[in-house]
């Protein structure tokens, strides 16, 4: 299956990756080649085969709901590109005039 430039741009947006025109062209060719290879899977009849998300039979693991130490605020914010007091700082999300 071939991925058009338009589809690559759309996947880039879904992936939150800004692509240059050159990249769109390159990734369109490369991803199409990979998808063409992956299309081999269509040769296999998988009707009635239960999908396997995890190869070990693992079950939900529960523990008692007891408080225990985690990262401190300083540790959690330590790697942030921008922080403000106890908060991560991000670019403005709402317009000046927007009501909350």
């Amino acid at each position: 299956m071939a991925l058009s430039a338009k589809e690559v741009l759309k996947v880039g947006t879904l992936s939150r990756i800004r692509l240059t025109g050159e990249e769109v062209e390159k990734f369109s060719l490369q991803l199409s080649a990979i998808l063409e290879y992956v299309d081999k899977l269509r040769e296999l009849d998988t009707r009635g085969v239960e999908p396997l998300a995890h190869a070990l039979a693992l079950h939900n693991v529960l523990r008692d709901d007891e408080p225990h130490a985690g990262l401190t605020t300083d540790q959690a914010l330590g790697g942030a590109p921008e922080s403000d007091g106890d908060f991560f700082r991000v670019p403005r999300v709402l317009d000046e005039g927007a009501s909350a």
Partner: protein, 493 residues
């Protein structure tokens, strides 16, 4: 003989008997790194002060008669996708993590520390462990110590090269589709992917969570066993780590597994296999036959081409979700020029990720996107079950499966970078073990005429690492390739 020629087991004995101090061992490795790593580029960061301080502490504790643990005074390298709170960066060889310092130690790093190991540095990898050559690193490629114009394999190429060049006796890597076994084969060392769930992934930066597994590199099977012993076991912080007791791998290592029925999958000897690699692997199989093993041809019909196709859907889908966390908000790199929040995400990720990571995130996003989910992701999961069934059936008949680890010896730098698919096919014999969650090891089985190492892959069923190591040891006792060092490691000691 130089100190760096000692195996980890020999070093351990010498340290415990006080013939060698932890400080001397650390200094020897740091000197080897200083001498060789400008050429090999296996390390992203080296921590001489930390290592010397730590070694001195081990020596003090030994002098005081304290129990110093399984890895007392042994220098170890750690792949740089495992968190260390020692002040060293954890980069995953990506720009997007920037200067990030982890606020906590990975479980395996805590285990190394508890067992007295001395972590000397963190090794290079393909960005976020995505690749098979260690060329996809934002900080430059690692080179193969046997031939500096060739790749060491990947993604744990830094750890494999560091052990092969005798800069450290043992190192940790991670294996999502072959990332320990393939570089072990290309660098002529032992590398093992344990069963999924055998070693905790807590603090391993996630790539594909249902496939990722941490494992050991060493020059000998015993050294790999030693490092696995120190790191395996249940950890409640990784809910996929399995609460099964860890056997004493070293105690049983010298016991051969006999009778031994070896499954030889015809699919692992088909088109694409380099004839010299095939020849070395068949010679190794003949050694097992001579030792009394029986070879049985088996079929793993879904475990080569179909496994690669399955892997590149499953792994990329999981990656697209795992790598959503790099958003320029919580840690790492943020683009300085942006118009709004979404634009900030998109520019930060565009500037922070390399091409291979972008390709895989996009491929996974596509496979999971509306309209394609059934055709790609669900289909791949169904084939994953067929792959698992192939192995279940095989293990009813045979004790282990053997074949080449990699279809070719180390390839030239740049040879496969322009064609991602050709790079993906480097893992054609290794990905199926990850998809099936079973254990695999690569051990050296000779060289090509050009002097490049060849690896034999041995695969066993889940939680049978003890038998896997014993089977590997049977061959190693007959053909001790570990005695050979790359010429570069012997220069001007």
């Amino acid at each position: 003989m130089a100190l760096t020629d000692l195996t980890a087991c020999e070093m351990r004995q010498a340290v415990l008997e006080r013939r060698l101090s932890a400080r001397e061992a650390a200094d020897a490795c740091l000197a080897a790194i200083h001498r060789l790593d400008t050429k090999v580029k296996a390390f992203l960061s080296v921590a001489p002060e930390n290592a010397r301080r730590r070694a001195a502490e081990i020596d003090r504790r030994l002098a005081a008669g304290e129990n110093v643990g399984l890895l007392a005074g042994i220098p170890v390298a750690v792949k740089d996708n495992m968190c260390t709170a020692d002040g060293q960066p954890t980069t995953c060889a990506s720009r997007i993590l920037g200067n990030w310092r982890a606020p906590y130690d990975a479980h395996v790093v805590q285990r190394l520390t508890a067992e007295g190991a001395v972590i000397v540095g963190k090794t290079n990898l393909d960005e976020f462990a995505m690749g098979s050559s260690t060329e996809n690193s934002a900080y430059g490629a690692t080179r193969n110590p046997w031939a500096l114009d060739r790749v060491p394999g990947g993604s744990s190429g830094g750890s494999a090269a560091a052990v092969a060049a005798r800069m450290v006796p043992i190192a940790l890597g991670s294996d999502t589709g072959g990332s320990i076994r393939q570089p072990a084969a290309l660098c002529g060392v032992v590398g093992m992917k344990p069963t999924y769930g055998r070693v905790s992934r807590y603090g391993l930066v996630a790539f594909a969570s249902s496939l990722d597994q941490i494992g050991p590199f060493g020059r000998t099977v015993a050294d790999a066993a030693l490092l696995l012993q120190a790191t395996a076991g249940h950890d409640p912080r990784d809910s996929t780590s399995v609460p099964k007791p860890v056997p004493d791998y070293l105690a049983s290592l010298e016991d051969p597994v006999l009778p031994l029925k070896i499954g030889v999958p015809r699919e692992f000897f088909g088109e694409g296999l380099d004839p010299e690699v095939g020849k070395r692997v068949r010679e190794a199989l003949a050694v097992y036959e001579r030792l009394g093993a029986r070879l049985v041809e088996i079929a793993l019909p879904h475990s080569t081409d179909y496994a690669i196709a399955t892997y590149y859907i499953v792994a990329t889908s999981e990656a697209s979700s795992n790598l959503a966390r790099y958003d320029g908000v919580h840690y790492g790199y943020r683009s300085s020029d942006h118009t709004d929040m979404i634009d900030m995400y998109m520019r930060s990720r565009a500037q922070g990720f390399g091409d291979e990571v972008k390709r895989r995130i996009m491929l996974g996003t596509y496979a999971l996107s509306s309209g394609y989910y059934d055709a790609y992701y669900k289909k791949a999961l169904a084939v994953r079950r067929l792959i698992r069934r192939d192995f279940e059936q095989a293990f009813q008949e045979v004790d282990c499966i053997m074949g080449p680890t990699s279809p070719t010896p180390a390839f030239c730098m740049g040879e496969r970078t322009a064609d991602p698919l050709s790079m993906y096919l480097s893992d054609v014999y290794t990905v199926s073990a990850n998809l099936a969650a079973i254990a695999g090891i690569s051990i050296p089985c000779g060289f090509t005429a050009a002097g490049l190492p060849v690896g034999l892959q041995i695969i066993t069923d889940v939680f049978s690492e003890d038998r896997l190591l014993r089977i590997a040891r049977m061959y190693e006792r007959e053909a001790d390739w570990a005695q050979q060092a790359p010429p570069l490691a012997k220069e001007a000691v």
